[in-house]
Assembly symmetry: C2
Homo-oligomer: 600 residues x 2
């Protein structure tokens, strides 16, 4: 239907006849002289319908052009010529197309909104096709396509086999909530949508596939946040006959090459590697944003004997921690701003946030402004100033609490300060975080829960050794972190049935339950399972980072709202009872509200 | 963990030390001299543990080797040497590896079955990891991977954008039965799994993406046959600003290149193109297998006045058809064999199948053996013999019925004869079938149903013209057929809202229903929808054809049984009622059986 793309018309085509298809981006009728900006996926070119054109029947062309409305679908044939009023803002601005024929392929009604009106997200999602038509959204979606292409090309060239795993599978009530699908042929039974292809990819290793990948759709029925969707996409990889370094080196090279291909960016080589313990100690996060240079200073040893009770209590507690965080140049923050930071820290468990504005560290007590200075003797104060390296104009914030709590809320403070103060440097800061704890103790459930997932191998190879040291056991898990986002996570898996059973047992899953839920995995491990491991990357998040957007919804063609709905299609929707009967379920009556008075 | 792959050890490595990982394919202990065939995904190499090796500590190596069992996971270091007893059946048969170190990475228990025992499919699916480990299944799965890679590479190079569409979407009760997913956040509402990305890909064209593809998972809750799965994979493509030839030429070139890449086969260029009407007329199928040369001969005109009532009735009926099908060399079929063919035809609606064995056509009546010969006068008989071109030794079969019925059952007879008589030639016979009817009249529902789907454009552009001639209207749909399989199907879509509404109306979908179900599509067509069209290919089927297997289950890693179950994971499975309560559904009680006496 066309000979060229609008956005690619250039001076080399001057004098040529071209046929273009596209949308009327702008149409102006200057009384017998019409200009149409015709747009396709490659860009925009100006089309002119003018009376002095040599073409025959030009009156008809002008008449058609005069009727063209915003976003009409057009096919235009015309001759390329040099443009008199050059427009340097568009790549085709040197030329224009003098129309000899205009066909209206489809008339557009007046649009429900215009992009420049910046409509709310619900409207944008309802008319997603109009939103996606904007150059900005086209660019974002194209970035995602490029990312996926770069990853596939890389993996295909290295012998990774792309293998699809089922979407209709078995419910495994470990981890997040499953989506359920009633089975018509098996009344009262249900399929579940996979939270990840984890078990299938391990089975594929046992099945001899050596190197596997899949761009896999995964499903978690959890509350939606800005960076969560009911369904999301991960690059899922698994390797047989490997150790950590094999997986990490390969994954790192792949990500580095993808950033070079898509973004023309060179990531650090190699990525920094820090243990989970170090990440918590220095940054209070298992996914530290290394673009922010601020680090924690542990001052428990300095304040064990001071008179500020919060400090001394936690400094002397076995599991306590006292953290100082120096924020360069932040002494100018107002009391209100510092209170806001405290409120932010409170969300992460802080009971309060002590602070110290530094005017001149050389002057000791005279050079600081702090509500807690009076509780600190001169030596302690000086020691703190020295330990933190505080300079005039800095703000030092203090957190004291149980180790993990203090780490976490001060980590949140570090992030907020970094952003608020503009201390996040430009660029990309990737790293590996390794040596995660194997288990976390869940006080409520009175049992261990897996920090990664129950198939992650412990660092120790011996079952008895793991059982004896479960609390402090370290796993063979690893995360790839980029600019404060966990973009990938993986581990070496358990490949021996005895170890897998021992881990299930430590997680409070007894042998019967383990057999019922994961029997096929335990079976598979018994029949020649090679050592194996892998990693999975969050495609939505990486694409969003590359596209420079905060919201993964900008790189998903048809996302759900945070209310788990699709405003365009209207999903989810009620289903006639007869159709539900076919799959042997019914909708439960709404439970009577507790606060409603019962009918007498 | 390894320096080389087992299957790639060759004479160039003689004298080198190598470390290999793999499964013990065979292990023989000849009393202090052990042979292990070590297997990885690349193949097998022989490992020897022998007492006269120069390596130190070899007694330990032999002791370990002597304990190795079938399918144990091993890591072996050793030296490559020329093999004395060359084995020409394996690529590595010129060499062997003299072990200096053997590590048992994972012991395998005795397997539940061995491949050579040819276990039933349920057992193979239960222990799918063992089944997939066989070289034959590895080859089939690798063929699928190669196909998908070839297709993606081709499309990526031509600017097609890979875009994911939702799996959790809205129920659209047109076509097959939807899988439903209760929505936890919206009590009483449900998502549905997509039967195809049809509406989303059309929306993407309206959204300005120009060229789209996706290797998409699709879901249909229908009875499973050998070539159907609850979930299946299609290569879904859509093009903006196109006509039929754009889509067809592109798709044909892509498939031709994929066969060249994966199979080193050159498909016909161009593919033959026949209309649906011609396909039904010549082959009685909308997906004719052109590897079978037999074609129908219409003989209604010849038998209008004969005395065989079945022939004359249908020859004179407005909608009747009388078909002769000559099966070369089939006169040797027994009466029992011909009856079997009749029984096969009956499944497709035949009331009976007349036949004629030809001994010598030159002898006329004397030269044929047929129960119906007595009803035909000499001239008619001679005319039939001439029209069919029957030769001595041929069998001619006759079908008479309503046009479509006769075509269909004789088409089934043609296929069966072709296979039974070995008349299916080797190789690949692709073709396009075009010009499908727009609608089929559904007598039961007393309305038209769409032969393709309700978004397929009619050949006519004018709404009134379509309405006036709905019964005979031809669509802009097309199928790609290969060796009797519909491997791809597509169409130019309706891009104007008035035409889409008219088609909905002809299909008995009133305006309110259309708005409720497809309102977003109708909306999208109003706001600048370009002419567009596309096609979708069945990846499972093409992979099965390439892999040379009848069953698509052989090219799906974890397929469901025909009973819609996964014997490995046990899906589907019962779900605790508390978990169902979270998603606001309950299992319906089983309906009381009608034949059970009611309790008094």
């Amino acid at each position: 239907m066309r000979t060229h793309f609008c956005g690619l018309i250039d001076e080399s085509m001057i004098g040529q006849s071209v046929t273009l298809c596209g949308w009327a981006d702008v149409a102006r009728d200057l009384g017998g002289l019409c200009f149409i900006d015709l747009r396709d996926h490659e860009g925009i070119v100006q089309v002119v319908a003018e009376p002095d054109s040599a073409a025959e029947g030009n009156a008809a062309v002008i008449a058609t052009a005069a009727q063209v409305g915003y976003e009409d679908c057009l096919r235009i044939t015309g001759t390329v010529r040099k443009r008199q009023a050059v427009n340097n803002r568009v790549p085709t601005g040197q030329v224009e197309v003098v129309a000899t024929h205009i066909e209206v392929l489809n008339k557009a009604e007046p649009l429900p909104f215009h992009a420049h009106e910046n409509p709310g997200e619900d409207i944008r999602l309802k008319y997603r096709y109009l939103d996606l038509r904007t150059p900005e959204m086209q660019r974002k979606m194209r970035t995602r396509t490029k990312l996926v292409q770069a990853l596939r090309r890389w993996l295909d060239a290295r012998g990774f086999q792309d293998i699809e795993t089922p979407i209709l599978t078995k419910a495994t009530p470990e981890g997040a909530r499953d989506f359920l699908v009633p089975a018509r042929m098996h009344p009262g039974e249900f399929y579940a949508l996979p939270q990840s292809p984890q078990l299938f990819k391990q089975i594929l290793m046992v099945a001899g596939f050596d190197r596997y990948y899949q761009i896999a759709r995964c499903f978690r029925d959890e509350a939606l946040r800005a960076d969560r969707q009911l369904e999301f996409t991960q690059l899922d990889m698994e390797f047989a006959w490997v150790e950590e370094s094999d997986v990490q080196d390969t994954a790192e090279a792949m990500i580095r090459d993808a950033f070079r291909d898509v973004m023309q960016v060179e990531l650090a080589q190699p990525f920094p590697r820090i243990t989970w313990a170090e990440a918590m100690r220095r940054f209070g996060s298992d996914k530290p944003d290394l673009r922010i240079e601020m680090e924690f200073t542990d001052i428990a040893e300095l304040v064990k004997g001071c008179e500020f009770k919060v400090f001394t209590d936690w400094a002397n507690a076995e599991d306590g921690r006292v953290i100082a965080l120096r924020a360069p140049g932040a002494a100018s923050l107002s009391r209100k701003q510092i209170d806001d930071i405290g409120a932010h820290a409170a969300k992460y468990g802080a009971k309060g946030l002590a602070w110290m504005k530094i005017e001149d560290p050389a002057q000791g007590r005279e050079g600081v402004n702090s509500p807690i200075a009076k509780f600190l003797d001169d030596a302690t104060l000086a020691a703190i100033l020295q330990a933190t390296g505080a300079q005039g104009g800095d703000l030092v914030l203090f957190g004291a609490a149980a180790y993990n709590t203090a780490s976490e809320f001060m980590g949140a403070v570090r992030l907020k300060l970094g952003k608020d103060l503009g201390l996040v440097r430009e660029g990309w800061a990737p790293l590996w975080v390794t040596d995660f704890p194997m288990f976390e103790w869940d006080d409520e459930a009175q049992r261990y829960v897996a920090l990664h997932h129950p198939f992650t191998a412990p660092a120790v190879d011996d079952v008895a050794e793991l059982q004896a040291n479960a609390k402090t056991a370290v796993s063979r898990g690893y995360d790839m972190v980029l600019n404060g986002n966990e973009i990938g996570g993986g581990s070496i898996r358990i490949h021996r049935p005895a170890m897998q059973s021992a881990v299930f047992e430590l997680l409070g899953i007894d042998a019967g339950e383990a057999q019922a839920k994961f029997g096929f995995l335990l079976d598979a491990l018994r029949y020649g399972a090679p050592p194996h491991g892998g990693i999975a990357f969050g495609i939505d998040r990486i694409a969003a980072l590359m596209a420079g957007t905060e919201s993964i919804r900008d790189v998903i063609a048809f996302p759900k709202t945070t209310g788990a709905q699709c405003p365009m299609t209207g999903a989810p929707s009620p289903i006639p009872d007869a159709q539900l009967a076919e799959v042997h379920v019914s909708v439960r009556p709404k439970p009577a509200k507790v606060d409603e008075p019962a009918a007498e």
